[in-house]
Amino acid sequence: MQSLLGAIVLTAGAVFLALGGLGVWRMPDTWTRIQAGTKATTLGMILSMAGAAILMPGWTIKLVLIALFLMFTNPLSSQVLARAAHRAGVKPDPRTRFDALAADEEAKR
């Protein structure tokens, strides 16, 4: 029972990670790709850690620490990548209808 539950949670995590990969591949520009990647890897990682903790209860504390660490650093690195891409002048997808950041930076010059 316990191993079945663990396997189900681990598989759910793997499915979200796979969807994240698909998202990075299918999305049209840098920022939409970062979005698909960050959300999916964070939930996928948490579910993988939870599944591993159900299968191996002795590892729970370490797995929780790893999950916490990644929950803090995952969105942080995505934000830095997104900012770097914007500062480097990467072109957003043509469907992007408004860019408040570019407008405000233009106004300051």
Partner: protein, 162 residues
């Protein structure tokens, strides 16, 4: 930050983290941990820890955690829907939102939370404004976007880090 306990909090969190990672309180492990935690506290006296500025508000903390996970799961389901559709139906925009939070840890948590919630990604933070990339933008008006993106988290973070 005029928090006189800040170095003690930094020391406590780094040392606790080390002990939990090792899973033991053996003397050699504890001594190495004490030395490293002391060195980190000495060289980075203004370093932030989870506890800097944290006010013990258990209800708001639980509310924030519950809201965060609810939003994280919603974000993944909507992203899965977007990604699995035959045509990628995005309508992105960079919008500006405003935050009332002043404490750095509270702002960090807010920016991170925005990144992990449905369709939004923090790009730049400047003064009281956060610039957010929105995959399916519903509005480009700063006030409406603030209500939609920021208000849910700010309600809890205001209490915890206000």
């Amino acid at each position: 930050m005029s928090d006189r306990l800040a170095p003690a909090k930094l020391f406590a969190t780094t040392f606790l983290f080390w002990i939990l990672l090792n899973g033991s309180l053996a003397p050699d492990v504890a001594v190495v941990g004490l030395i490293v935690a002391a060195a980190i506290t000495y060289f980075l006296p203004n370093g932030l820890s989870f506890l800097s500025g944290y006010k013990a508000k258990p209800l708001a903390t639980l509310g924030y955690i519950a809201f965060f996970f609810k939003e994280l799961i919603k974000a993944n389901l909507s992203m899965a829907h977007l990604v699995l559709m035959p045509t990628i139906a995005v309508k992105p925009a960079f919008v500006k939102v405003r935050t009332k939070l002043t404490h750095p840890v509270g702002r960090l948590l807010l920016a991170n939370s925005i990144t992990l919630t449905p369709g939004t990604l923090s790009v730049e933070i400047e003064g009281e404004h956060i610039y957010v990339h929105w995959v399916v933008a519903e509005t480009t008006d700063p006030e409406a976007a603030t209500r939609k993106i920021v208000a849910g988290f700010e309600k809890y973070l205001e209490v915890i880090y206000g």
